[in-house]
Symmetry: C2
Subunit: 186 residues, 2 copies
């Protein structure tokens, strides 16, 4: 069902812009971490870049009935420094989404009874909580000059849920079967 | 050398946002074209998505000395319709960049003597001209309900120059050797 309310539509566009820029900076920072001899941190960046792609695609498809050009304003983080510095940028972006952006967008979608947008924002919010923690673990290692320890990372292609190690049989956020998970192994 | 002028820095941020969103919508529209039984158009979308990644990364790295969060306003195109409709969105976005956005950004970078930004904007502008033409060829096929004919597509990882078929020995825009080109074959 198409989005009915302008405010929810604007928030979907902003969230699409924010997720697209997060996806892109994680690809850039992932390539940099690889060159700095930290392949596990590079793999984490790439796996989470894919999760942000899932979020961006969900928001975009919710807007499918509202085609055309728009000027989109979104939060973004810049900087191309050490691996630990880049990870701080990643953490800052995720924390903003967890504490400020997605709670407000989610509240608005509920208030305006926009069920599709509500689901899309909720899926993203749940994944960002995990992303912030995983980036913190990566940063603890990078600060000592070492790569992180990291098992296989899996990402749900429906909601962007992200984890490492043993996979649950079903995605704990959207319920999809684990066979669909995209896996990032060493 | 770091960016010295606020206006050029703002345009780099906007261009980063615009390229990140273009990259993302081409991935989304590429997956859709694949599902609609048009693997060549899907491959074109994915190759050009990679070229936009090169542009985004160039702009981002120019801003490397200016870390931190920012609210970024960028042009974007939305819509999730037929393959031919999505290609119209792609053409509209490229034409805006060719005729409006990059000429102004490039002019500003020259005026403010920002050599790094000037190069980054110029590389993008040259590639977008080709992208608009390739998407038009794809749309001509999609409008008749058929996949496009498409040879191997190659993309320069330094400047995003894009072509199909025989590769030149050196990138005509940035001069890098063809061995570095990223190739997208059927
Ligand atoms: Fe996200
Ligand atoms: Fe995230
Ligand atoms: Fe899920
Ligand atoms: Fe571009
Ligand atoms: Fe382009
Ligand atoms: Fe090039």
């Amino acid at each position: 069902m198409p989005v009915k309310n302008d405010m929810t539509a604007d928030f979907l566009r902003s969230a699409y812009g924010g997720e697209s820029m997060a996806h892109m900076r994680y690809l850039i920072w992932g390539d940099h971490a690889e060159k700095q001899g930290m392949p596990n941190i590079a793999r984490l960046f790439r796996a989470i870049a894919f999760a942000e792609q899932v979020h961006a695609a969900n928001h975009f498809k919710e807007l499918g009935e509202l085609p055309g050009g728009a000027a989109v304003t979104s939060g973004a983080v810049f900087g191309f420094g050490s691996v630990a510095e880049n990870l701080q940028g990643a953490i800052d972006g995720e924390v903003h989404e967890i504490e400020q952006m997605y709670p407000v967008y989610l509240q608005t979608a509920r208030f305006q009874q926009e069920n599709g947008a509500e689901r899309s924002f909720r899926y993203a919010l749940e994944a960002e909580k995990i992303h912030a923690k995983m980036f913190k673990t990566a940063q603890d290692a990078a600060k000592t000059g070492k790569d992180m320890k990291l098992k296989e990372v899996y990402v749900c292609p429906v909601c962007g849920y992200t984890g490492d190690g043993e996979t649950p049989d079903y995605c704990p956020v959207c319920g999809v079967k684990k066979d669909l998970f995209k896996r990032f192994s060493a």
